[in-house]
Symmetry: C2
Subunit: 258 residues, 2 copies
DNA sequence: GAATTAATATCGCGT
DNA sequence: ACGCGATGTTAATTC
C-alpha cells in the first residue's frame, strides 16, 4: 500500500500511524489545528492555527500555512522525529545536535494524517545556471571581449577562487566574475576584492576585472566605474527565437482555474 | 468540512475536486507518480517519480520528494493554478507573468488528492534576529565601545542605508554594521563601502567602521584589518544561564521515533 | 567539522 | 515595478 490515510483520527490512532510510518521510512502529512515552538539558531513561537505538517524520512519537517513558499517553521534533514500524546495534544518533536535545535508541534485537533511510500530515482535536470554561463564563455571567449584567452577556472586567490582567470589581447591579466542574472552592488565588491588580490600577485601589470551578467543596477554600474571595472552583458542560455506558440497544449477534457 | 480526500481517484474525479478546491481557495495536496517541467528564470526537467505536490490558495505550488528541505520544483506566490486531463495524464499548470514562467506537473497515476480549508490568523514571533541585535546595541551602546553614541539607524548614504550611525568618545563619525551570526568576507566589504561613502560626506574626520557580530572568519578578520575596520563580538540575544532541564516534558502515553 | 559561494534563492521594505 | 539587504536562508563544494 503506497498511501494510508486516517480522517479525524483519535490522537492515539494517529500516534500509531506515526510510529509505523517513522519506523518504515514513509513520508507523512498531517493537517489540523496546532501550535509550534522552535529553539536553536534563533527561537520562535507560533500560536494556534490550521497548518499542513510534512515529515520526510530523511529527518526534514515542514510546517506550512496557506500562504508563502517558505514553511512558517521547519527543521532541516538529519533530524530525529518523535511523536507522543500528552495533555490531550498529539505532539511531534524534531531534534538535532550541531547545532542544537528542536521544533515542537502540538495538535489540539488532528483533521487528517497520511503516510506515503515514496520512490523517486529521477534527478532534476537544470538549465540556465551560472555553470551554464561559464561553459558558454569557455566555448566562445569572444563573448567577453575580442582576444580574451581563458587560462583557468576557479583559480585560487587570497580573496577566494575566481570564476575565470585569463589574459586580454595585450596579455594583461583578467578576472571574470559570472552572475546568472541581474546583479546588485555585492557582485561589484566581490570582483573588486579579486582584482585587489591579483594586483598583489601581478604588481604593475594592471589587472582588469570584468563582470559578466545579463544586466546590472544603476548603482552597481557606478561602483564598477569607480573601481575601473567593466561590465559585459551575457545570458546563461541563448535567448530563443520567439516562436513557442502554445507549449502547454490545449485541454480537451476540462479545466480548473485558481 | 475542513478536509476532503480521494484515494486512488480517476483522473476525472481528481479533476473535479481540484476545480472545486482552486475555486474555493482551499489548500490542496496530491501524491502520485508524475513528471515536472519548469521554464522561466531558468528551466528544468524532472523524470517520473512519486512526489507530494502542494498547491496553496495564494498561488504557491511545491513539489516535494522524500528528501531535502527545499522542494525539487516550485512556483512562488502569485501564480495561477489550472488543472486538466489530457493524454491520460492529470495535469496541473502554475503560471505567472513578471517574470514569465510556468511549472507543469503531469501525473500518470494519482494515489491521493486532499483539499483543506485553512484558517490561520497567528503571526510567528521570532527572537534572535538582526533587529534584536540592533535593539540590544541601542539599549546599551557600550556593547560597541565605551563612549559610543548612536545618532541614527538606517541612515542613508550613497552606498545604501547603514545599520547604526553615531559618534565615538572623541566625536569621530562611526558606522556600525550588524550581523546576527558569524560573518564572511562580504560583510567586511559592505562595511568598507559604507566607510568610503561617509568619508566623502565627512572629509578628514576619519570615519571609523565597526562590525558587530558573534564572530568572524579568519579571512574576514584580515580584510577588516587591511581596511582599518574593527570587530566587536556580540550576540543578538543574551546567552542563557544553562538550566533548561527537560523542556519537552516526559511522554506519558507513548512515543514514535524516526 | 569550518569556510566559501550559488540559488528558479525567498521575503520584506522602500522608492 | 525595481533596488537592496536579511534570512533560523538551503545546498554544494572544498579543505
Amino acid at each position: 500500500m503506497t498511501a494510508t490515510t486516517l480522517h479525524r483520527p483519535t490522537h492515539r490512532d494517529a500516534l500509531y500511524l506515526l510510529e509505523e510510518a517513522f519506523g518504515d521510512g514513509r513520508m507523512v502529512t498531517m493537517f489540523g489545528r496546532c501550535t509550534v515552538e522552535y529553539d536553536g539558531r534563533a527561537s520562535s513561537s507560533l500560536g494556534p492555527g490550521e497548518r499542513l505538517v510534512v515529515c520526510k524520512p530523511d529527518g526534514t519537517i515542514l510546517v506550512h500555512t496557506d500562504e508563502k513558499r517558505k514553511p512558517v517553521n521547519w527543521q532541516p534533514p538529519g533530524c530525529t522525529h518523535r511523536a507522543s500524546v500528552r495533555d490531550g495534544r498529539l505532539r511531534v518533536r524534531s531534534e538535532r545536535s550541531t547545532p542544537q535545535e528542536h521544533l515542537d508541534v502540538a495538535f489540539e485537533r488532528i483533521e487528517q494524517v497520511s503516510a506515503y511510500e515514496v520512490t523517486d530515482r529521477s534527478d532534476l535536470q537544470l538549465r540556465g545556471s551560472e555553470e551554464d554561463l561559464r561553459q558558454r564563455i569557455l566555448d566562445d571567449p569572444a563573448l567577453v571581449e575580442a582576444g580574451f584567452v581563458p587560462q583557468a577556472t576557479e583559480r585560487e586567490t587570497t580573496a577566494g577562487p575566481v570564476d575565470i582567470f585569463g589574459a586580454d589581447a595585450d596579455g594583461k591579466p583578467v578576472v571574470v566574475e559570472l552572475k546568472r542574472r541581474r546583479v546588485g552592488p555585492s557582485a561589484a565588491s566581490q570582483l573588486q576584492r579579486y582584482v585587489e588580490a591579483l594586483d598583489e600577485e601581478f604588481p604593475d601589470e594592471g589587472v582588469r576585472g570584468i563582470l559578466v551578467a545579463p544586466s546590472v543596477t544603476d548603482r552597481t554600474q557606478e561602483l564598477l566605474a569607480e573601481n575601473g571595472l567593466s561590465f559585459v552583458a551575457a545570458e546563461p542560455i541563448a535567448a530563443e527565437a520567439d516562436g513557442e506558440g502554445n507549449p502547454g497544449g490545449v485541454d480537451d477534457e476540462g479545466t480548473a482555474r485558481d
